[in-house]
């Protein structure tokens, strides 16, 4: 759809571009733009991080982004433009990992669409983050299962524990 833009960006070729996201969603119909920008941070779970690597199953990731966009459109129930881009490859501290921008006539729908999109990207898209630490060690981040049996069990456990996501991200 012309009002939903999705991309996987190889960081070796170009960084994510916030200006491009704002340009894409800007439209005379829309008075509200909400953005989420995810950056690589220096510490996680008490360890000093020097960088991260993102691995993606790119064809399914892009399809998932598109499906998320359609769901956001349903959530908004009116005109909306949405931009979703995620980085792949090796990123340094401060590099942009994900950029989402949602534009709608008013702020409430823009915030809701943006929040829906980032939560869905984090929990549903086939993307894996490997953290690299100052001591030379590396570890893949614990994540969300896409396997239906485990996904149901994790959601049930999260509800019982009062934790919306069942883990720390």
């Amino acid at each position: 759809m012309a009002d939903i833009y999705t991309a996987v960006v190889d960081i070796a070729h170009a960084p994510l571009d916030v200006s491009a996201a704002l340009d894409f969603v800007s439209d005379p119909r829309f008075g509200g733009i909400a953005t989420f920008i995810g950056r690589v941070r220096q510490h996680n779970l008490g360890r000093t991080v020097t960088g991260v690597s993102y691995d993606l199953f790119e064809p399914l990731a892009v399809r998932t982004f598109q499906a998320i966009g359609e769901r956001a459109r349903q959530e908004v129930g009116g005109p909306m433009k949405l931009y979703i881009a995620h980085a792949k490859g090796h990123l340094q501290i401060g590099d942009l990992a994900v950029v989402i921008a949602a534009a709608t006539p008013h702020r409430d729908e823009a915030f809701r669409a943006c929040r829906l999109a980032i939560e869905a990207v984090k929990h549903e898209a086939p993307i894996w983050k490997q953290e690299h630490y100052v001591d030379g060690d590396s570890a893949w981040s614990e994540g969300c299962s896409l396997c239906e049996e485990h996904r149901d069990a994790e959601l049930a456990a999260a509800k019982q524990g009062g934790n919306k996501h069942g883990h720390g991200h």
Partner: protein, 86 residues
């Protein structure tokens, strides 16, 4: 049929080529492939926990394939460990 399973994330440690090949009966279900994959890692990739295979999903380039689904006719699958994007 020979099934080629592409690896991602922590499961890349199962084979440096980025995929493994399993000989499975034609028309196998994803559940049967999961069992075969668990057997494979017990034999050939001891650093991979069978529990990680249990928590992983299988997919084509188009969609997640749950346990009851048959494997694609082209013999190509991906195994997706728990995801951690963003």
């Amino acid at each position: 049929m020979m099934l080629r399973i592409t690896l991602f994330g922590a499961l890349r440690d199962a084979d440096a080529r980025g995929f493994i090949e399993l000989d499975v009966p034609d028309h196998s279900t994803v559940a049967q492939v999961r069992e075969a994959m668990q057997h494979y890692v017990r034999e050939h990739a001891l650093t991979i926990s069978p529990n990680l295979i249990q928590r992983s999903a299988f997919a084509s380039e188009e969609e997640i394939l749950h346990n009851h689904r048959q494997i694609p006719g082209n013999g190509v699958l991906a195994i997706l460990p728990p995801v951690s994007g963003g």
